[in-house]
Every structure is written in structure tokens, then in C-alpha cells.
Amino acid sequence: MPFALTAPGRHGAVLAAVNRQAEAEGLAPGMRLADARALLPRLAAAEARPAEDRRGLERLALWCNRFTPCCAVDGADGLLLDIAGADHLFGGEAAMAAEVEARIAGLGFEARTGLADTPGAAWALARFGREGNRIAAPGDTAAALGPLPVEALRIAPEDARLLRRLGLATIGAVDALPRPSLARRFNCGEWSDTVLERLDRALGRRPDPVASLPPPPACLARLAFPEPLIDLAGLEAALARLVEDLSASLERDGLGARELALLFCRVDGGAAERGVSTARATRDGAHLRRLFEGKIETVDPGFGIDAMALHAVRAEPLAHEQFRLAEGGRGSNEPGPLIDRLQARLGEGSVSRLAPVASHLPERAERWAAPGREGEAWPVRPGLPQRPFRLFDRPEPVEVIAELPDGPPALFTWRRLRRRIARAEGPERIEPEWWTGGSGSDPRDYYRVEDVEGRRYWLYRAGLYRNAGGKGPPRWYIHGLYG
């Protein structure tokens, strides 16, 4: 059954992709749907959904973690796998390429692999290389790319057309030209898109930075199962193994993990990832395992999970004597593992420490810092009035009866209760911080007051009666509560 995907074009729908049967009937991407229908009335067509294709490709990239930890989506239809150091696990480069193709074919996709020293050359070989000839031996890139057409250089179509018009059909022919003339003629547009640059990158004469490829994890452990796992107990046992392997390799390298990612590869091509982070570098197996508690349950195993990998995405040096810092008896002074567990369950940023900030404004005098570090000592401020024990993020307006112009409050109403004030201390004037751009706001006069029942409040008056100007009378607020 011929089938095609369409995309909206300037003059109606255009074919975006066709299947084998349609191709055999003479259809190709880029044709208008009306023309294609005229050629082949029984053509079935559906609208292409590039965003979903992209998501599918990203899932596939995650799933490819079974081959190597460095996988990324490349363009609209490619995956880039950095297999440096991984091919021997699959019995060499050719065997690995065959395995990748077979596994992806098992998922119902058609894939071609190209393998070379540089990403550019691999890209060219995968798309333009001939069957059985898509693997360039190390150091042999120029010979492997020589017979390929110039389009394989990933250059702009007009540049490729121009090269062909000049009689340069293959990469080998372009490479044989003197470089200065090539640089002079093709120097328009982005530098990275010029013919010379592309050629140098593909042939490995220049570094080819691939932005999308994630950095390799500091340490990793992987496990493939002969039989797909479906039940939770099996996954937990696998996690225990992975954690054990990972902490052994972390220990060998003198590292501790700060950020971990657990990857699940499903039989049906699905993949999932769960991450945790730690407040301090650690390689304690029991602790790491507990961090993933409750996270495995959220993974849908589908028809089964046949490979798992645990990556230490970020690691820091960790000296050997710090090992075993998780819960011992009384006196283990290290709350790090506890912080990790709390954050793993309640969310990043739910645990913090209070750190002082040198500001007179009460709401700016502290900041919530990350909990991992030792707390900064708070400065002593002798002679300053006491601060409240509880502070309102947003001062609440109150109605106050006070002596004019700047006497302490005598009576105030807050939360519909009238409170008679027995004692008051103040005012403590706090001016806005002009250097932070707050010069437009009013100065505040703070009063520490105690009502007849002994409850204590921190009230302030924003503005002055004397020079109220057009702003109306000053307003009163409650900003905090004393114990």
C-alpha cells in the first residue's frame, strides 16, 4: 500500500516522506500531493507531525543509551552515538553497527549506520555510503569519503549545485582542489557552513564540536537482562547491582556522585530516565539506593525493561576517609544523606539554610541558601532592637490609632481583632535602600509593641505625617510576630 506523509506547502500540501511502495511508483518527497494523486490515485496520505517525530527520536536517543552513554538527536532524522571505547563490548565496530541496525529494525524502524572518526564523516557515510561500505577504518576517512557526492558534506544546496555545475561531483574531487581558491569562492554565509570548513570537519582536520552531544558521565554502571523485567522487585534488585557497581568504580576513581541519572531501556523502544542529586559528594551504596526509593515505581515497564544504566552525571573528588558517612549511631554529625532523601521526595530546593544578608530592610536581611555548605555565621548586632521570630512575607495592613505626628500606636486592629497596646518601643526608622533602586518607597518607622495580653507584634508606619504630600496619610502594617 503506497503511503505518504504531507506537509503544508505554498500551493497546497506537499509530500514530506513516502514509503517504499510509493517510491517504487515514482513518488518522491517534495512533490505536491495533487500531482502525486494524479500519478497514483490509491495513494494514502496523512499529515506529518514533526514535533511528535522529534519526541520519538529523542526517546530513541535515550533508548540508545544501551549502546553508549553519549547519544544525541542529530537533525530531523538522525541519531549521533559516540561509541569511543564502547565497541569492544559488542565485538568490534562492524558487529556493533550490525547490532544497532538489528535492534532498531526490531523496533520497526529502518536505520542505516555510518561509522567514522568524525561526526561529519559518519553522517555522510550513513546517508550516502554504499551498502557494506559504511564503516571508515580509523585514519582512513579521506579515502572512505572520496567517492561520495558533494551533498554528503552537509553544505547548503546552492553550494552543492554550484560545485556540480563546476564539474565537482565527489568529495574527493573537491578535496583535490587548491584550498585558497575554494576558500575564495565559497565564503558566503556562516563560516561553519562554508565548503572548506565542512570539508575540514568531515576529514578531521578541524575539531567538529557537536553541541548536542552530552558530556560523558563521570562514572557509569550498566546492566542488560537476558529476559525483560516487568516486576518491581526485579528492577529493585537490578538497581542494587547497579549501585554496587557504580560505587565500586567511584571509589576506584576517588570520586563521589553529586548527580545521578537512572536510565531504563524498554523492549519496545521506549525509554525513561529518573534523576536525583545529592547535597554532598557520596558513594554510599545504601544511601544512593534509598534516593531512588519511590522513583522506580513511577516508571512504566511496558512490555519489559531489558537494559538499565546508572550514570554519575556529575561527580566530585571524595577522599577515602569520608566513606561511610551515612547513618551510624548517635554522633554522626553529617546531615547530608538526610538532606538528599528529603529533597528526593519533596523536591529540589525544599531544604535550605538561612544565610545572613547585609541589608537593613528586614525582608532582605536573610536568604535561603543551599543546604550542602556549612552555614555562614550570623553577625552579632549589639544594641539593635530585637527582631521578630516570625515574619510576614507580605506585611498585612492594620488599622492603628496613634499619637500624631509620630507617637507609638495605642490601639490597632488586625485580623478583625482590636488589640490595646500596653507597651511600645520605637520608632526604629528604616529608610529604603536607594542603591538598590528602592528610593521611591517610603521610609518605615518600626515599633515593637506588646498588647495587654502580652502578645508582641512588629508594626510599622510607611511614610510620615509631616510631608505626606499627595500620597495621602501614612499607612500602618504588621510585619512580624514575636514569641
Binding site: 547513618e327 535550605s352 545572613p356 488599622e399 502580652g454 499607612r475
Partner: protein, 270 residues
């Protein structure tokens, strides 16, 4: 053991009491590592310490406090913070986990204010959770980790099961758990001691008659396992980290000086 007559043998009676406490793992439990016994947590005020078993609060226990009225919540919180400041002087472990739900009617915890109560804010680990259940879970984790000096939590209310869990965790790790309940003290709880706290009018500041002085609370020990109920008015002195008896009768309530002068009153709407 022979039957023993308390009047004739007070030392034997004390030994027996200690033995029972040990069986109940209430106080004075020998350290699992073989170190010294963990002492009770003295308030430093005879009127209260006498009402508590072993002369102090059990370090491995859950202690609940609530305000007597809805406006007394901050006072109850400050009382618990004062207890922590006393504990802080004797525990080498630094961090105290403070758990609170994000929406508290009393506002958020304020570092400079903790320092002014006598507690170093850098020693606090702050956890903000959305629900009371999360607060209880985090408190339990904190207790079981045994890496903290104490755990303090603030909840709206807590059912018996959760309070029992907290009490067990505190007992096993010998870490005190302090709980502030905003809804007042519910009907049942597994807490070791329960306190009802009300703000009380205290004395004026020493050099200014019109200014508020030391914080003053009316404490009611409603229930304490192995102890007896007690009531006391205390003052908290942050510099010495001591409770003192409030001298309520020592000086009368401050005469409203302002009223005598008949000032012009202004009314400002907020």
C-alpha cells in the same frame, strides 16, 4: 528483689525508678555505642523540672506545644525555640531540622529573630513542605537519621498514628522531636509531654518603662509521662539561655503613660 519501703529506703526507691525508666526507654538510656547515659533535658527552673520525671524532659521523646488561644501560636513556637536554644548548649551536633508547611498563618520563620531569641540561625536546616503529612514524614526521616540535634515541626494537626510514629522514631534515635500544633492540642497523642502556652504580660524593659521587656509565657504542662501536670509563668532570658520565674506580682502592669498626657489621636486606615 525484696519488697521495699519508700520511707526507709529512698536510695533504693530512686534506683528502682531509674530501672523502670530504663525498661520503658524513657530517659537515661545507655548509649548504644557504650558511651555515657543520655541525660534528661533540664529546663533550669525548679518549679518545672520537679514536675518532670528525672528532673527534665526526655531527650528521646516527642514534645508537643500549642497556643492556648489562636493568637498564642507564635508564643508556643517561641517557647519551643527557647527549648532548642537550651538544648543547643549541650549537643555537639549542629543542625536542627525545622519543618513547616508553606502556608502558616503566623508568617515564616525569620533568621534574625531566631538569633535574637538566642539560637544561631546557621544551625537550622529549613524544610518547607506543602502538607502536614509531608512535614510528619520529613520529621520522622530527620529523627531516624540520628544526625540532628533535634527536630522541630509545625503542623495544623496530626492524627494519633503519625504522632505515635514520631514518638517511636524519637525514642529510637534519642533525638528530641518538638511539635507545634496550630489547632490546639487534639484529643489523643503519643507525645511524651504536652504544653499549652499563652503569652503573658511581662515586665517592662530594664531601662525603659514603656518598652516591652523579656518575653513572658504562661506555661501549662498538661501531661507528661511519669511526671505530673504543672503551671508556671516563665520569662525567657536569651542572653543566658535560661528560663526564670516571671515576677508577675513584682511590678504592676505598666500604667498607660500616654493616656495621662491626653495626646491628639490620629486614626490611620491601613
Amino acid at each position: 528483689m525484696l519488697p521495699l519501703c519508700p520511707r526507709k529506703d529512698p536510695a533504693g526507691l530512686a534506683a528502682l525508678r531509674r530501672r523502670i525508666a530504663l525498661l520503658e526507654r524513657r530517659t537515661a538510656v545507655a548509649d548504644p555505642a557504650g558511651g555515657g547515659a543520655v541525660e534528661a533535658w533540664r529546663l533550669g527552673l525548679d518549679a518545672l523540672d520537679a514536675a518532670l520525671p528525672e528532673g527534665g524532659l526526655a531527650p528521646g521523646g516527642l514534645h508537643e506545644a500549642a497556643g492556648a488561644a489562636s493568637g498564642d501560636g507564635p508564643a508556643a513556637g517561641a517557647f519551643l525555640a527557647a527549648l532548642l536554644a537550651r538544648l543547643r548548649r549541650r549537643d555537639e551536633r549542629l543542625a536542627v531540622l525545622v519543618c513547616q508547611s508553606r502556608t502558616s498563618p503566623f508568617g515564616r520563620l525569620y533568621g534574625p529573630g531566631w538569633r535574637d531569641l538566642g539560637f544561631e540561625p546557621a544551625d537550622l536546616l529549613l524544610l518547607s513542605a506543602r502538607r502536614d503529612r509531608d512535614v510528619a514524614w520529613a520529621m520522622e526521616e530527620g529523627l531516624r537519621s540520628a544526625s540532628l540535634a533535634a527536630v522541630l515541626g509545625e503542623v495544623e494537626s496530626l492524627d494519633f498514628t503519625l504522632s505515635r510514629r514520631l514518638a517511636l522514631a524519637a525514642r529510637e534515635s534519642l533525638t528530641p522531636a518538638l511539635l507545634l500544633r496550630r489547632d490546639g492540642l487534639g484529643p489523643a497523642s503519643a507525645a511524651f509531654s504536652r504544653w499549652r502556652v499563652a503569652a503573658a504580660a511581662g515586665r517592662a524593659a530594664p531601662f525603659d518603662d514603656a518598652a516591652p521587656g523579656l518575653p513572658c509565657w504562661h506555661l501549662e504542662l498538661l501531661r507528661c509521662r511519669g511526671g505530673r501536670p504543672a503551671t508556671c509563668d516563665v520569662e525567657w532570658n536569651r542572653e543566658t539561655a535560661d528560663f526564670g520565674m516571671a515576677a508577675a506580682l513584682a511590678d504592676p502592669p505598666a500604667a498607660p503613660r500616654a493616656a495621662a498626657r491626653r495626646p491628639a489621636l490620629a486614626h490611620a486606615a491601613g
